[in-house]
Amino acid sequence: MSGKPPVQAGPTVAAVDAITQGLAKYNFFRRVSWGRLAVIAVPMLWLAVFFFVPFLVVFKISLAETAIAIPPYTALLEWVGDMEEAYVTLKLNLGNYLYLLDDVFYLDAYLSSIKIAGISTFCTLLVAFPIAYLMARSNGSTRALLLALVILPFWTSFLLRVYAWMGILKKNGLVNDILMGLGIVDEPLTMLQTDFAVYLGIVYTYLPFMVLPLYSALEKLDMTLLEAAEDLGSRPVTSFFLITLPLSLPGIVAGCLLVFIPAVGEFVIPALLGSPDTLMIGRVLWDEFFLNRDWPMASAVAIMMLIILVLPIMLIRNSQGKEESA
């Protein structure tokens, strides 16, 4: 592109925004319109093939009925008739959605997932903010090192890292050994199969997704604003809440969304670390699919989750956009 420094944050919303803005500024592709088209077409095609088409397939299945057949659900369209007269019948089964709304169990599962994801997201924010702040304030080489340390865990499989936590938290694991050795507790604590372990697992796993957008927001912060505030007699705490926090808000929103959305549908962490009474929608979906063998119902649960998640997020993005243009 140009001599501008490359965008440092990972695949975050902020980074994507920055790239689009950069492209708009340099009008690199304006002269060759087909080139521009090709550049837009690639991500669009990607979205269409890997998001929109699967979404439509899932939506289609959610409107079918279960059947003892291959595949285990009915077809929506059916040909009836012969050479002279032919009908196509379309049969849509809304029963799955009605059942979802009717049975409080699913509502409980959605709410409990949202609660767990919400608490974990908040904890992640509390942990990530000081890290991002430190990164943004440190000089070149330290910053690169800190950034590498945040990204480094991604080099190991997510599943292995969750398993490692099982080893750390178990009864004769690392934490209990240290606590017992120091004489802080007499008996090993039960930490595995608790909600605490789930929160810990989510905070640990998703931390980089929060740190990176926060860092990219804090890094852009104009230090002269803080100096001016200090000159005018504002105390550091006041300056933080009046200047730093509001200006890093886009990073906070982006980070929270990146943690919250996958955390709601999380299956592996509660399955491995959580207690059996941790009710999450990922588990309910698994049960519908594998235990009840009800693919249409499982699809309806998935579509519902998407609607519950996507609508509020679109509203947030919308109001943000308005604020920025105002």
């Binding site: 003892i68 057949a69 291959i70 285990p72 004769n172 059996p276 049960d287 699919f289 594998f290 063998r293």
Partner: protein
Amino acid sequence: MQKKTLGIAAAVALSLSASAMAEQKVVNFYNWSDYMDPALIPQFEKETGIKVNLDYYDSNEVLEAKLMTGGSGYDVVVPTGSFLERQAQAGVYMEIDRGKLSNLGNIDQVLATKISGHDPDNRHNVPYAWGTIGLGYNEAMIKERLGDMPVDSLDLIFKPEVAAKLADCGIALLDSPAEMMAIALNYLGLDPNSEKKSDLKKATALMSAARPSYRYFNSSKYISDLANGEVCLAVGYNGDVLQAASRAEEAGQGISVKYAIPTEGTVAWFDLLAIPADAPHPEEAHQLIDFLLRAESGAGIANYVFYAVANSAAEPLLLDEVKNDPGIYPTEKVKANLFTQNAHTSKYDRILTRAWTNIKTGR
């Protein structure tokens, strides 16, 4: 760029036709992980010239999802009885051509009769291995808490006052509603395959009462947890518990894991060889199945994986430690109390899953 793509396409086409010309016979075998004597497959390949492509799964659900989507490409699969029962109804499997199997006579007829409860006349299956669901326990930890109380009883799981004594060292149950509920129903003296709502209610009440003493519900985690003392009692599959026992022995930390079949009776499960209806190589599939039915093959499998095979001819070739282990080959008296868990209607599955979720989450 375009030229390069064409080049690749041509290369792929060439290699495809080349392999077709050579006519390398293959068979795609989809089996459970760690469920085969590793010496057998090379022997089969050497004898027949058929190349075996092995692929592994670790749960019936994964296998079912692949089969129900259709076009899995597998020639031989190993579902458990109750799963095969429902899958056969959906038309997933082809009928086994018995004329092509020369070693059919090796099959244990008593067990074959039991299996026909899943598959009338055993039209779609040939038995592979079988076992029980029972109690895996840490000898020292249980003794410390229960004294001399007999361990081969489901009282340990279902009597709240007994289970409570073991809560601190950890009880794990299988996360398998159909099998666990069948065991609970049988414990209550009811038909283990009952689909009556009133029966389900009684079984749910039984498990809910002891629920506070259960650490977790999982169908594989207990193997390592029993071995390292994280849990002291688990309802599990016999082969998995024996695996935990040998792991504990290897670790050498003085943990001794044992397996007991409850005297109240329990589920006997059967893993069956079957051929998907759309298998690309049915001929080779029959050849592989016939090979696995040989007495030597059956004994090789049992001696290696520590599960019993439904192969009478293999019995003289078994190692003593396998043949004489009542956890692998139960005594006749214990055998009489074993029952199969049959597939449920989808309507009942839904009620059962909900009851199970309620037990687990303590609702």
